[in-house]
């Protein structure tokens, strides 16, 4: 029976091996697609930094194209950290302001909430990254980690959209482990995580619990198959566990994006599971 003090240890990875495996994933996807490079949106945060760094390991810096896509309310630190990261990795980096495109739309919808504005920004970035991928013969590199995916903490078809995602099976603490192993700049690795969709936003404030807590609770629920009550029995706060369980259930739809009405006996992905290599 796993005890609470053992959980963090279970999430420790052999960082060099994990980096080698994830780099080979990116290399294989690029080779299989016949496209030489990847594009990645750099937020100035740790997830996009690690994705980009893994791509550099896989493909070499010249085949990784970084994009910094700030909105006018984005923290100036974010863009600055993103550019510093690009310089650290030796990758090309282009900054494109998304304010004109996003604002043009919201002149037609002036009453839109902060949530809607944040989602629009995430989708604007996605649209630009996929267009740049087309232009540069590249794949869009994803940056969503397992913690975010399980909590549904993402914008559907926005920051969760990608051609390939090397981080999707890494909990946030594992993203930190690999980022430290790769010596990514400390201002990126140690900064407080934020979607930066409005000033002062932080992930942990918005979620109401720490990533450290979320990683451990999700590991017990999802990887170990424990029931919520069994997680609480191990000393985790009942309210937090309840909130995590409810987010995990509520946002499952974000993990399976094509909901197809089956009316034949051979529906795509349901009756006919045709794999991709």
């Amino acid at each position: 029976m796993i005890r609470r003090e053992q959980v963090a240890g279970r999430l420790v990875l052999n960082a060099p091996l994990a980096v080698a495996v994830l780099a080979s994933f990116i290399r294989d996807a690029a080779e299989a697609s016949g496209l030489p490079g990847v594009v990645v949106g750099l937020s100035g945060g740790i997830d996009s930094a690690l994705s980009a760094a893994l791509a550099v390991q896989a493909l070499g810096a010249e085949r990784v194209h970084g994009f910094v896509l700030p909105y006018r309310t984005s923290s100036p630190d974010s863009a600055q950290h993103a550019c510093a990261l690009a310089e650290h990795l030796g990758i090309a980096c282009r900054t494109l302001e998304i304010s004109p495109m996003v604002d043009a739309y919201f002149t037609l919808e002036p009453e839109a909430s902060a949530d809607r504005r944040g989602n629009k920004m995430a989708r604007e970035r996605m649209a630009i990254l996929f267009d740049m991928a087309k232009k540069l013969d590249a794949l869009v590199l994803g940056t969503s980690n397992k913690t975010e995916i399980l909590l549904g903490y993402s914008t559907v078809f926005g920051d969760n959209a990608s051609s390939l995602n090397p981080l999707g099976d890494l909990y946030k603490c594992q993203v930190r482990q690999l980022s430290r192993h790769l010596n990514l700049p400390s201002e990126v690795v140690e900064k407080v995580p934020s979607a930066d969709l409005w000033p002062g936003q932080t992930d942990e404030n918005e979620l109401g619990f720490s990533y450290e807590m979320a990683d451990e609770v999700l590991y017990l629920l999802f990887d170990q198959g424990l029931r919520p009550a069994e997680v609480v029995d191990r000393g985790y706060d009942e309210d937090v566990v309840g909130r995590i369980v409810s987010l995990e259930q509520r946002f499952r739809y974000k993990r399976r994006l094509m909901l197809i009405a089956r009316i034949s006996g051979s529906a795509v992905n349901l009756d006919q599971e045709i794999p991709r290599d």
Partner: protein
Amino acid sequence: MLASGPIMAEAGKPLKIGLAQIDCRLAEVEHNASRHLEWIARAREAKVDLLVFPELSLTGYRLLHLTPRVALRPEAPLLQRLAKAAGAMPVLLGFVEEGETGVHNSAVLLARGETLHLHRKLYLPTYGLFQEARFFAAGQRLEPAPLPWGKTGVLICEDLWHPELARRLAAAGVKLLIVPSAGPGRIGAGALPDNHEGWEVITRATALLNACWVVYCNRVGWEEGCFYSGGSHVVRPGGEVIARAPVLDEHLLVAELDLRESDRLRGRLPLLDDERFDIEGPAA
């Protein structure tokens, strides 16, 4: 010329085995076949006596509904081509077999344009990410192959996790057990992928308890976000790993096996001879 020559390996001489730890392209049989030809040529240069490819090496593993589309009869021209290319160096490869009554996950040993042995996977994992029983029919027959270098058994991947199969083959005189595999990798804190620990426990225990050689040939590469972790290895009778391939890369692992080691250990450690079948209790 090669196709008509005698098989190189002989009883009483060390057997030079080659494990082709390769990547495969999913459902691209012609492409994979041409890569088999390259590795056969490479193994021949290395003077290998017996070359082993991973499970489903001709087709890739995670085929799901593509499974029937890549099925081949054992006498298919493509397999004949490979059997001719094998020549005097027997080659074990994995393919989707269109049998008389079902589609099987099979491994076939080819040489001199002929089929020397065919094994249909007996245990089809259908749990977690494995879905084999949905697409394959399980084999019904366990058969030791009498080959020029000595009696040999083939067990595909999951088959080895059911230890009575290796036991039955060893009791029938098998001294070399070949295990082609498509083993997905998992990473933890350890030096090697987590899944390797389980595999080595089993290959080594099999080699110890049955006093036979065990060669494990895993593949590498990615399919739908799942990686195969390589780490092919050769275990001598008694359980010592004498050769190990790297974790992620394609590799030709070559090792010399003296099958008499199996006889010698069976003399010192007569576990098979001591087996009792008269013990009362739960059925086997």
